[in-house]
């Protein structure tokens, strides 16, 4: 199969550095160009990547590389619609970050643009390619724990805002400045916006849809943030499954401008743990464990050194296969729309203090 000629836009998303490795290593991809959001980002790119031209203008990048077949939208959420339109106009396929947009009118515009252009738009929910998730789905399909009755999941991390400042700016993360509501002085756009995975996984694993959600936001751990950093979500699926989700930034971090060793204050900077209760048994899973551990440089703190991060291989395999063979990715814009609606319903629940059916 001919390698897919791919480029990256903006380079400001938290997954950017993972894509550097993926785009370099995958024999299915030929990384032809990148475009940096600003000079600082470009300087970082040039320090980390060699042999790939990096531009400051998207227009210039597209003009100079008319052979680009696909792009990774490694950008702030507020940039996505504009970039999807630009790609659709050029017939360029899109690997979207996990939040296309929270504005449902914009979201439908994206669907329309993608449909009209006949391009592939895959949303990067990498948990779908995680071997532990694969095992869980296999066990569920074999009926090992019977009919699911309850689902608990964490998608908790440190806060990336110091390295990726747009994630702390409501207009760039949520798309507009919307107060959380009540007496809370903060705005939508924080931890919840960073963690769609568990809202997606429950749909996938139950095969059901949300009936209602109820969310509570905690006093912020980081008082200087404009956006929420700790919240809890409960509710029910239409099949009766009760759920409890924690999408918080509840693991503290050093406020460093670039992710790297010593970022963590809490030993484990990222966790996706699931507990599934069925009528025949219980399943408990750590999607990113076990690992190795140290308390060495640079901060001498007990730290989890992760060992399993091959999700991007499956993600890229699917993306390339969909483009080359004219298939629709599993996580396409239409599938993902309901997940985004659920996350918006959480914000509405926080604002009203009541469960939200949707």
């Amino acid at each position: 199969m001919q390698p897919l000629k791919i480029a990256m836009l903006s380079l400001t998303h938290g997954h950017t550095r993972k894509y550097y490795q993926t785009l370099r290593d995958s024999p299915r991809l030929q990384w032809v160009a990148a475009c940096a959001e600003d000079d600082t980002v470009k300087e970082r790119f040039d320090r980390n990547v060699s042999g790939v031209p990096c531009y400051r203008s998207e227009q210039e990048m597209f003009d100079r590389h008319p052979d680009i077949e696909a792009v990774v939208l490694a950008s702030a959420n507020s940039e996505h619609l504009r970039q999807v339109r630009a790609c659709a106009e050029r017939g360029i396929n899109v690997l979207s970050m996990k939040i296309p947009t929270f504005d449902m009118i914009e979201y439908d515009e994206m669907i329309k643009a993608v449909d009209q252009a006949g391009i592939v738009c895959q949303v990067e929910l990498e948990m779908h390619y995680n071997p532990v998730v694969h095992r869980i789905n296999q066990l569920l399909s074999e009926g090992v724990i019977g009919r699911m009755q309850a689902f608990e999941a964490t998608n908790i991390t440190l806060s990336p805002v110091w390295a990726f400042p747009w994630q702390g700016v409501p207009e760039k993360s949520y798309g507009q400045r919307v107060p959380l509501g009540g007496a809370n002085p903060r705005f939508r756009g924080g931890a919840l916006c960073d963690h769609p995975h568990i809202f997606d996984l429950i749909r996938w694993m139950t095969g059901s849809d949300f009936e209602y959600v109820h969310a509570e936001v905690a006093p912020n751990l980081r008082e200087d943030l404009q956006v929420e950093d700790a919240l809890l979500v409960t509710g029910k699926m239409r099949d009766g499954t009760s759920f409890l989700l924690d999408p918080s930034w509840s693991r503290m971090e050093e406020r460093i401008p670039e992710p790297g060793p010593g970022w963590e204050v809490a030993p484990k900077r990222m966790e996706v743990n699931l507990t599934l209760h069925g009528d025949k048994g219980v399943l408990a899973a750590d999607c990113f464990g076990p690992n190795v551990y140290h308390n060495g440089a640079p901060r001498d703190r007990y730290t989890v050194q992760y060992t399993y991060f091959d999700e991007w291989i499956g993600l890229v395999d699917e993306f390339v296969d969909c483009i080359r063979n004219h298939r629709t990715p599993k996580i396409n814009l239409r599938w993902h729309r309901r997940t985004i609606e659920a996350m918006n319903a959480c914000y509405e629940s926080i604002a009203t203090g009541q469960p939200v059916a949707f």
């Binding site: 024999p27 390619y129 995680n130 071997p131 532990v132 694969h134 095992r135 869980i136 066990l139 090992v144 724990i145 060793p261 025949k280 048994g281 219980v282 399943l283 408990a284 899973a285 750590d286 999607c287 464990g289 076990p290 690992n291 190795v292 551990y293 140290h294 308390n295 060495g296 440089a297 001498d300 007990y302 050194q305 992760y306 060992t307 399993y308 091959d310 999700e311 291989i313 499956g314």
Partner: protein
């Protein structure tokens, strides 16, 4: 546990995906099997005799396990430094890894992680099933290896190991603090008891960690066929180290290893 046929098929699928050539005469096995001039057998180094025929390529496949890759990365990157001591232990049921096989693997791990050869060995062996071993590396690091083929048949897990690297700045381990047993990624509790799963490789889903590492090591060899000579050299060295350990117990002396300076 997958059969050798399954492992060989997994290797060929992976190689095909990445357009890497695996010669038809190659066969990947989890045990040594009989030598044949018509084929090249890739098998765990510990399963092969010291003087294995040229038709065998010994795999040091544990080096492909992500936990060991990350531990080595912590040493090479000086996240923990300077390393002064390693405390390794490995218990098995004896099948398929007996005492000599355990020593073979742990000797390789300590040399590979520290990028320094063992220069002396002292071993205390009991009944051919257990050994406490102290080693010294050329760079001054010392290490202990608790090796036992003493777990009862049917034990779960059937390999119980721990690798701890102790440095002036920091300690690294493949086991979490305050635990004795390895963790798994999935636990299922049903009326039948507890089932555990640890899946580490989406491309080789369905193989356990040992099997994944065998396939990955064979794939690496297919990608770099020239590395076979280095593997054979290290195999001969490791087999000699195991023999030295047994001899050390017999004569009750610390012994310098072959080639020690």
């Amino acid at each position: 546990m997958k059969t050798s046929k399954d492992l060989d098929a997994a290797l060929r699928r992976l190689a095909k995906k990445y357009a890497v050539d695996v010669p038809d005469r190659w066969i990947l096995q989890s045990t040594a099997g009989a030598a044949s001039p018509q084929r090249t057998t890739l098998a765990p180094g510990w399963a092969l005799p010291a003087g294995a025929a040229e038709s065998f390529v010994p795999l040091l496949h544990w080096r492909s396990q992500r936990r060991f890759v990350e531990l080595k990365r912590l040493v090479v990157g000086r996240t923990v430094a300077p390393v002064v001591m390693c405390r390794f232990s490995c218990q098995t049921t004896g099948e398929p890894m007996g005492l000599d096989a355990i020593l073979y693997r742990e000797f390789d791990l300590i040399e590979w992680m520290n990028d320094s050869p063992i220069v002396s060995v002292y071993a205390s062996v009991v009944a051919g099933r257990f050994a406490n071993v102290l080693v010294r590396l050329q760079n001054g690091v010392i290490g202990s290896i608790e090796a036992g083929a003493t777990l009862p048949t049917g034990s779960q897990p059937d390999v119980l190991d721990r690798h701890e690297i102790i440095a002036g700045r920091g300690l690294a381990s493949d086991r979490a603090v305050d635990t004795q047993l390895p963790q798994d990624s999935v636990y299922v509790f049903t009326a039948k008891g507890v089932e555990k799963y640890t899946d580490t490789d989406a491309e080789l889903f369905g193989l356990d960690d040992e099997e994944v590492s065998l396939v990955r090591a064979a794939y690496d060899l297919a990608s770099q066929p020239d590395s076979a000579d280095a593997l054979r050299r290290q195999h001969r060295r490791l087999a000699a180290l195991v023999k030295t350990a047994q001899e050390s117990d017999r004569v009750r002396r610390r012994l310098d290893t072959e080639g020690a300076q």
